[in-house]
């Protein structure tokens, strides 16, 4: 029995490596971004990708969907996009095979895909953005009063452009909180850039192989939930999230000065789930303090709202998270002292 769990862990690790390798055949560099997207896939959360245009955000999602034997759909968010354009609508069907008065037939929107790309999500109105809320949280869509469950796995990835702010609608906090991770897509380095130029200016590369099936993904998600977390690690995660609240007595000075709202309970849950995904990807049955630390920035950066003073001082949420990681002790002081001294 134990052997089975261990082999499942090993298989999961191997599958993740294969998936990463397959994505890497198309995407040059961006290993952290690919890895963090996998955390979201395995943990069962959704991922918000933020980066400048042309960094391969959309390509990454398309490639990932190609590697997974899942239904992919893409929604290009525009200001005139309506919620029904996302969820779908009932259409009156007349004619052959229909009832004498006609009948309503559901035309499913792109949200019914399994890997959904919400491209440039901040260009749609908040009303349209909110159409994603139910789907992301409940994995279901209600159309004309009828609730339709989405097929698992449901994995939404949204992109947004941080520099073109004109004509955009920043995502509300409630919407942001639905994303497990916010992944920052950075510009590639010189070597990666050179490689990108070589790949994209020659013959079209072959499509990536399909690595994981729907069952595999669901199996990974189930296994992820089985990963164990010790109490001290949970306390550490709770302390990190709790200290991000400026009203907390344990909040560092930077948090008190620069943060208006800290991460909530959902942030803590996401932190632990992301930690489990990391542990699973490394083939470990337990979450370590380091896993929580690694997950902290992508999990918390979009859940911490800066105050006016923080924005004026140019304090980024990543800096706040770094301060939290530096201030919150993972081990009791006497244990850490004894371990360091011996």
């Amino acid at each position: 029995m134990s052997e089975s769990f261990q082999s499942r862990l090993a298989a999961a690790k191997r599958a993740a490596e294969e998936l990463t390798q397959a994505v890497g055949t198309v995407i040059v560099g961006q290993r952290d971004v690919v890895e963090q997207v996998l955390w979201g896939l395995i943990a069962g959360g959704h991922v918000l990708l933020e980066g400048n245009p042309g960094l391969g955000k959309t390509l990454l999602v398309r490639t990932l969907s190609s590697c997974l034997d899942l239904r992919f759909s893409r929604i290009q968010f525009t200001p005139d996009l309506m919620p029904s354009d996302i969820t779908g609508t009932n259409v009156l069907v007349m004619g052959e095979g229909a009832a004498p008065g006609g009948r309503f037939e559901l035309h499913r929107g792109p949200i019914f895909g399994q890997v959904v790309l919400a491209d440039e999500i901040n260009r749609a109105t908040p009303k349209t953005q909110s159409a994603l809320l139910e789907a992301m949280q409940e994995h279901s869509v209600t159309i004309a009063g009828v609730r339709h469950t989405l097929e698992e796995p449901f994995f939404a990835l949204a992109t947004e452009n941080p520099i073109e702010m004109e004509g955009t609608y920043p995502l509300p906090e409630a919407q942001l909180d639905r994303f497990l991770l916010k992944v920052l897509v950075e510009s590639p380095g010189d070597d990666d850039f050179t490689q990108i130029l070589r790949r994209t200016t020659g013959a079209a590369p072959p499509p990536p192989a399909r690595v994981l099936t729907q069952t595999d993904v669901l199996g990974l998600r189930a296994l992820c939930r089985e990963i164990e977390v010790a109490d001290p690690v949970l306390r550490y995660a709770a302390s990190l999230v709790g200290s991000s609240d400026p009203a907390s007595p344990n909040a560092p000075e930077l948090v008190r000065r620069s943060v208006r709202f800290g991460a909530g309970v959902r942030g803590g849950q996401s932190l632990v789930l992301a930690g489990k995904a990391i542990a699973l990807l490394e083939g470990r049955p337990q979450v370590s303090f380091d896993d929580v630390k690694r997950a902290a920035a992508p999990v918390l950066r979009h859940r911490i709202l800066r105050s006016f003073e923080g924005e004026a001082d140019g304090v980024t949420t990543d800096r706040v998270v770094a301060e939290l990681l530096a201030r919150v002790e993972q081990l009791p002081a006497h244990v850490a002292h004894a371990a360091a001294a011996s």
Binding site: M1, S2, S4, F5, Q6, L9, E226, I227, E228, V229, A230, D231, P232, V233, A279, R284, P285, Q286, V287, S288, F289, D290, D291, L331, P332, H334, V335, A336, A338, A339, A341, S342
Partner: protein
Amino acid sequence: MVEASASLELERSFGRVARKVRGRLWLGRALTGTAFGLGAGGLLAGALWWLRQGELRPLAAGLGVLGAGVATLLAARQRWSDQEVALYLDEKLGSKEQIVTALGLRAEASEAALHLRQSAAQSLREGGRKLRGPKVWDAPQLLAPFGAAAIVWLSFLPLPPPPAVARAPGVERVQSANVKGLERIEALRDQRGRSPEDERRLRALADEAKKLRGDLAQGMEKREALSRMARLRDSIAELRSEFGKQQNRQGLEAAIAALNEHPEAKKAARALGDGDITAFDQEMQRLANQAEKQARESAKHALEEAERAAREKGAPGLADALKEQRDAFDQRAADAEALRQLGEALAGKLDPEALEDLKEFGQGGDPEAARRLAEAMGKALSQLSEEERKRLAEQLKKQLDQSPVGAGSPMTREELEEMARRLASAEGQKQLEEQLRQMANPDRTPEAERDGALGDAERGLSDAERGLGVMPMPMTGGPGAPGETPGNGSSPGPGQGNGNPGGKGSSREGGSGDHAGQSQALTAPELRSKANVQRSGVGPMHAATLGRAPARPGDTANQRGTGSLGSVAPGEIGAIEQSEVPEEYREHVGRYFEP
């Protein structure tokens, strides 16, 4: 089965490692605590040694033992939980919280829990040297041997010698079986006083001097001895300054003024003004010795007027003293006349020095010359043969016939003839020799005798102070020293006492002025005077007091007759303050200036 064995193996492995970790933790803490305890004990031992608290030094060792005990107790109480041990082990093994997670899943039967327990047990098995536990030895523990050694060493190290404490001046003890000078104060017991009350005060002085002698024989603090001597001096000065007191002031000034009316009595007036009764008595003796009748009559008249003035101005004591002088004046004049007549008769038998004295006596009536002359005449008389004696008696009769004794002579003719008759016989000669011896040491008036005794006591007090190694306080206004150099103090008379020369009078700012006005009455037992004086050989400095006097409302520092500061110009007076200046301070200050 597999689950049970995995759990058992984990528990066994973890228990073994945990015991080792906890044991090393306990040992390390106990050693560190012991080191701090012994270090504190060493510090305490050092402090106690430094403070010379030898009897408390065992406490240092006790503190060391107590520190060790408390540290051991605290180490035992701070036992790590399983979770803390597991966290420590995970940190040391780098096992990514594998052990702590596995321990948290003891009751779980999931696949993950089983796998974790197996993995954790394996990690503990393979931990090797990394599982030896926390470090036992730490740098602070080096304190332990040093602290223990310090406690032992300091417990047996002899205490450091006490620091030299600067002793207050005068606290040293003096012991002297026989302090010379005090017997002259004790002699006041037999001195006749003006009144029973006066005699009681004189006896009190004598008793105090006797008691002081006894205390000095047993040993006492020097400052206490000096303080008591100063009180004796004050008491003597007060007794000598009776006529200068406020109630006698008008009488004294009136008597002085009456004496000053007569040129012959001016010196006597000055002596009276200075309160120097001894000098006054000698001056009156000199006036009585005058050969000229007119001078004698004038002096006698001046005495009568002074007596009357003193009595009228409410100074009966002074008037009585003047009356004693007037009563003795005639007898003194008669003795001087007899001395003169006999001297002229014996002129051929006297040596040149006696002849010089005879000449000096005849010119000015110097009492000292009279004394020396009387001694020389007594000696010459005893060496006369019978033939010479008879011839001398005849010569004396012939001398009387040639210069008949008139109304102005202080001796009647019968008295002189009686002297000549006595000279003719051997028995009479002896009587005459006795009479001459008395003339050499003429009787003083009771008042002068009292004042002389008090002055002698004062000088004896100075000798006693000198015997204790202290420079005696300079005496102001009193008679000068005997013998070697005549005093030139503020009193005008020639020195006749047995003490030192009188102090020099101040000449600074000697301008005219008055002491009009009256200060507010002070309710103090005594006042101390402070004067700005010149320090010996160096620049000026403020110094304090040469004397002190009993408090009298309206008095000033340089009150004439008090004997406190003598003649001090107003500008020299710094203050009169009510304070308890220690005697040793007065002594200290006294070395730096001369009055």
